[in-house]
Symmetry: C2
Subunit: 377 residues, 2 copies
């Protein structure tokens, strides 16, 4: 139950065994074409989508490299480790990241973004980490951030690496120019691919302002997309797997899928709170895909997490940076179903007891079952 | 029989089905450690080796980005499409590529490199495409190129994307600072991973001169290698497959593997020449991993290659750029065995006849069988 890479359904894994074909052939065209068509359904966009062989970090770097030029002002809400890193990477390519920060466990309101935008003379983009997995916080004003960008003639970019497919992000409806995600989080495919969408206005910019990197040059991906090819040799088995994983998402339907994540997240938050294991993040910005929980006073992170893994077979993540030892995190991503929630809660209860902090597991499960009622199976 | 991606042995493909594990866990450590140990055997080096989730082009870009800084002189032997592109990519990052060219089908001698090096005041590196797949030419003076680099206080880099594991390239013995390869060529793993080795002197440079790119920053890979991790989420199924593919190489032994490629290449060259289908490349720089053959006068490339594929089930590559329509190319890579050669030759004979150019297939096969005698099976 890590916050990615997530478990890969058997049907997705088996797809990797399809034959190695020439990526300049009709066979590959008829693989990439439906991948992009289905990705557009998931992104809720008409925009073009590039599929790159690299990690999510590579995808975010692609966004930074293609959009930010030396001297550009870029507004970044900072509310966790990953949004901090994003701001740093903007500075690294010569951009000027304007950090609008909030205390950890909360997120900066869009009013603060608007204030900062007014003071930024060369605002190129508003770049938002939609879900920062380090505290487990979702930026709930993605649409408002996009409005701020538009009002100031800037692009709006959403780093949705850890969340797309697990919560709502209607790109076109919200007016977002670029959404970045990765295969191994809420899409439940194996790691190794990044997907980057590019709106028409941003496409024009990208084509006439190529970055230093050839591999991350989106203009090339856009160009090759026209013939359903990638500019560089694709990681073919991962494309087969992504194709299958996207089919699963489309078959379930985005609305149902987002609702499922909401229900399982609520089941975690409510049941754990009920027995005194409190969510770390403020309610209005809590993530539905990464559930972070404060440790009870004095509990040893390592002892708890190794017990929950070794004795109960559930892998949980610890805290990151300043949150190390203070929280544990549950990935609530991808194929997570009713039984994942109940098994995980039961394991947490068992491990807590084993390390000397008894919680009422029965009551916890009861609350969760109540919340999970809308889900079948 | 394409010059990559090559066929993947079943044992390698099946390895991709192993479970998705946390890449920050002991389980991943005990996967990456033997991968790097076996890669060192294949590279014949004590140098550190980074494994990146990207294509071979990404690997070469990594080399360029980590070594070349604006204003640096870099010597590049140019003898085909890929060496030309390499020179262009050096210019693109602000370097100054000094192109030492030869007519297509030949390669520039090391004397010419030495002359050019003498005139280059800020020589940072000699960067050689060891095997340019577009004409099917191998730079047979890789060692001499390295000597030129050393004599001028420069690094020697070898782009061995299409050849490592199929011909000799003893990195340490030849004094090469960096070798770049990819998973899907002579290593016969699926596409999606690049391997980049870094000598101790180059490592020092790389650590103190980070590139603009974070994803391609080799200092990070070197740092994470110490704990047997990758800095960014690895394409796990491809790592499982690479592990298996490297085991196959090590089990066969590099000497035997290189000898096998030599024998199968010689069988192709000699048998095809015997019936008047002449190699395109001059004998002294012919590749053992990409066999390029001149078309007989008037033969239609598309008709021939579609016949050989549709009627005889063998996929061949055409020519590239200025060689389009003039040559066809056979990938002689990875798991190529006696029967691949004979089946391919038979298919070529059949297809030639079908498009109106009759060759003596029987004689061709006889010559090949003779050359293939040292191989069992």
């Amino acid at each position: 139950m890590l916050p990615g890479p997530t478990n890969v359904p058997d049907r997705v894994a088996q797809a990797m065994l399809k034959p190695i074909i020439n990526h300049r052939s009709e066979g590959f065209h008829s693989l990439l074409k439906p991948i992009i068509a289905k990705a557009k359904v998931v992104f809720e966009t008409q925009a073009d989508i590039a599929v790159l062989t690299c990690s999510g970090t590579g995808g975010v770097e692609t966004a930074v490299m293609n959009v930010v030029r030396p001297g550009d002002d870029v507004l970044v809400p900072v509310f966790g480790e990953f949004s901090q890193r994003l701001a740093d990477s903007i500075d690294q390519v010569g951009g000027h990241a304007i950090r609008v920060a909030a205390p950890i466990g909360d997120a900066p309101s869009p009013d603060l973004l608007e204030d900062a935008a007014r003071k930024a003379p060369r605002l190129k983009a508003v770049f938002v980490v939609y879900n920062d997995t380090s505290p487990g916080t979702t930026y709930r004003w993605m649409k408002e951030a996009s409005d701020v960008a538009k009002a100031h003639g800037a692009f709006c970019i959403s780093d949705a690496v850890s969340i797309l497919g697990g919560d709502e992000l209607p790109q076109d409806k919200w007016g977002i120019d670029m959404v970045v995600t990765a295969s191994q989080k809420c899409l439940a495919a194996p790691p190794g691919l990044a997907l980057v969408s590019i709106s028409e206005p941003l496409k024009k910019y990208v084509i006439s302002n190529p970055p230093l990197s050839t591999y991350f040059n989106l203009a090339k991906y856009v160009e090759f997309n026209q013939k359903s090819e990638t500019p560089f040799t694709p990681a073919l088995p991962l494309f087969y797997a992504l194709d299958e994983a996207l089919s699963l998402v489309v078959e379930e339907g985005m609305d149902k899928r987002v609702a499922r994540h909401r229900i399982t997240a609520q089941a975690f938050y409510d049941s754990l709170s009920f027995v005194g294991l409190h969510p770390f993040v403020k309610e209005h910005v809590r993530s539905n895909v990464v559930v972070s929980v404060r440790y009870p006073e004095g509990m040893d992170d390592k002892a708890f997490r190794s017990t929950v893994e070794d004795s109960f077979g559930v892998v949980l993540a610890g805290g990151f940076g300043e949150l190390k030892g203070k929280i544990f995190r549950i990935g609530n991503m991808g194929e997570v179903q009713r039984w994942h929630v109940l098994t995980t809660l039961n394991a947490i209860g068992g491990a807590m007891a084993a390390v000397g902090h008894v919680v009422d597991t029965g009551e916890m499960i009861k609350v969760a079952q109540e919340r999970l009622r809308p889900l079948s199976g």
